[in-house]
């Protein structure tokens, strides 16, 4: 698959924003507002909102005909993309109401009423994003529960890291937040590993011979029928995006998981080291998302001569 840059930025930024909101609400409610100062909680809420909005804006750049984008909210009964749009938009009122409630010094019950529906919608949006890819049987690697699980875990982990940075800047750090972030990164790392193992296991299940109905014989492509590229070759066949896949996987392992885990595991990490971990995690996740697309094998590759997908 051709990695769509706009979608890569969208899923990474929105994922971090949604995760940040979920962690902020949970931390705020569970600590009864003591974990961060009022000012810091408002800033974090605004940052989460900005990340999600930036992500959604980026996703619009993916569209070839964006003036019809509003119609994407209509097919929620069967399209995960439509569901994601609706859930993401429904998230915004709560994402605005929650920092506002903190600003006006609302009681815990009132903050819960504004925040918890937002938490459900944020988790729902992350799940829908994953399901957009997981529902495609044409890309066997994606067609697994591990895809939404990865989107949820990576969104929450990156959000937790951002919240830990906010806590360090605000009050010199909160051990509970750092422990939660370590746990989320460990889970996300495990799920990413499971995804890679799953991807390796399922690849090769479809053969070119079966795809053209000639199961009893060997089949190979003689001529693809076009002299230069087509939409299909540009979108699904070109493999240049995965030229450095092995090196990039190493970057993901170090930048997205190892560095944040090492920094978070240290006793009371400094704001500078957490900021470095955040930057490293963001880079790592952008590379991870690039590989998610670049390494995906669409079954239409069979008809273009790949013997197994």
């Amino acid at each position: 698959m051709k990695p769509p840059l706009s979608v890569i930025f969208f899923t990474v930024l929105s994922g971090a924003g949604l995760g940040l909101f979920v962690l902020l609400v949970m931390a705020d409610l569970l600590s009864d507002g003591t974990i961060l100062s009022q000012r810091a909680r408002i800033s974090v809420g605004a940052a989460a909102l900005a990340l999600v909005a930036a992500g959604l804006g980026s996703s619009g750049l993916h569209l070839a005909n964006p003036r019809n984008a509003w119609r994407a909210l209509s097919q929620f009964r069967h399209s995960w993309l439509s569901r994601e749009g609706i859930v993401s938009l429904a998230f915004f009122p709560f994402a605005i109401a929650y920092p506002a409630a903190i600003h006006f010094g609302a009681t815990t019950a009132f903050r819960a009423a504004a925040g918890l529906p937002g938490v459900v919608l944020a988790l729902g949006a992350l799940f829908c994003t994953g399901m957009i890819y997981a529902c495609l049987k044409t890309i066997p690697q994606w067609h697994s529960w591990l895809t939404p699980a990865n989107y949820l875990a990576l969104g929450l982990a990156s959000g937790a890291l951002a919240l830990a940075l906010a806590a360090a800047l605000d009050r010199g750090g909160a051990a509970a937040l750092e422990r939660a972030a370590v746990l989320l990164f460990a889970v996300a790392c495990g799920l990413k590993l499971a995804y890679y193992l799953h991807a390796r296991r399922v690849s090769g299940g479809h053969t070119l011979a079966a795809a053209v109905g000639m199961t009893a014989a060997q089949v190979k492509l003689l001529d693809v029928g076009h002299s230069h590229g087509t939409f299909l070759t540009r979108e699904f066949i070109d493999r240049s995006a995965r030229r450095y896949a092995r090196e990039l996987r190493f970057v993901v392992a170090v930048a997205a998981f190892a560095i944040p885990l090492i920094v978070l595991s240290g006793a009371l990490p400094s704001p500078a080291s957490l900021a470095f971990a955040c930057a490293s995690c963001l880079t790592g996740l952008l590379v991870e998302r690039w590989l998610f697309f670049a390494e995906a094998d669409h079954v239409v590759r069979l008809y273009h001569g790949q013997t197994r997908v």
Binding site: P4, A64, Q75, S79, L81, C135, G213, M214, K220, V224
Partner: protein, 231 residues
């Protein structure tokens, strides 16, 4: 109704006439607008096509056969492209034809990702998805003589490898053809219930090679003489 195509892989010679006829008819179709070409006279011509023909070799030399496989929209009964479309631009009609409403499409490519057959292509000039219409603007046109109310690709095929009809009707010519020739669907394991059927190459009838007839008495004498006498 399940309108669709039946394509005979035995008689298809891979001439691309179906694709050219398709491009000619649909290039000015009211259903999907233009089928754009990108640098048609440039160094790397490319463009939008509803139908693409690929050529394969089945078996190994010397028992190899060339298989020409035209592929267009299979008009799946359970079309994933329609399921995933967030705008409602992709839809399936009562007669089984899957279409894209060009006025609703936002060009997100999601349906192309969902289609296993590569039947959908984004048109860069309009920013919308284009696909086979099964010539919905031909097959019901009462101004055309009845024999012309068929998709352009079917009419153009010089070897009559393509047939069009209702695969829901067990007595239709296409259904009978599929039954008699063991027609198969492509990638049925994905569960999208493609409607189009492909007829596999026929097994050529074995031509019995009789043992050489016993030569006549005169012939045997002659060969005996030939062995003895040098001429």
């Amino acid at each position: 109704m399940r309108l669709g195509l039946v394509i005979d892989l035995d008689t298809c010679v891979g001439c691309h006439a179906c694709a050219v006829a398709c491009k000619e008819w649909n290039g000015s179709s009211a259903i999907s607008g233009p089928l754009s070409d990108y640098q048609p006279y440039g160094a790397a011509p490319s463009g939008v096509w509803f139908n693409r023909i690929r050529h394969y070799e089945v078996g190994e030399y010397p028992e190899a056969k060339t298989l020409n496989v035209p592929m267009s929209c299979m008009h799946c009964e359970d079309a994933a492209c329609v399921t995933v479309c967030p705008t409602g631009a992709s839809y399936k009609r009562a007669d089984g034809i899957v279409l894209v409403d060009q006025d609703k499409c936002m060009g997100c490519n999601y349906c192309a990702w969902a289609c296993p057959y590569g039947a959908r292509e984004l048109d860069d000039s309009t920013g919308t998805m284009k696909k086979c219409t099964l010539c919905a603007d031909r097959i019901y046109d009462e101004l055309l003589p009845p024999e012309d109310r068929q998709p352009a690709c079917v009419l153009a095929c010089p070897t009559h490898a393509r047939s069009f009809g209702d695969l829901d009707d067990p007595e239709s010519a296409v259904s009978q053809l599929v039954r008699s020739r063991d027609g198969f669907a492509m990638l049925p394991e994905l569960g999208y219930k493609p409607v189009n059927r492909y007829l596999p190459p026929r097994q050529p009838p074995e031509i019995a090679v009789d043992a050489a007839p016993r030569p006549s008495l005169a012939g045997r004498l002659k060969s005996l003489v030939n062995r003895v006498v040098k001429r």
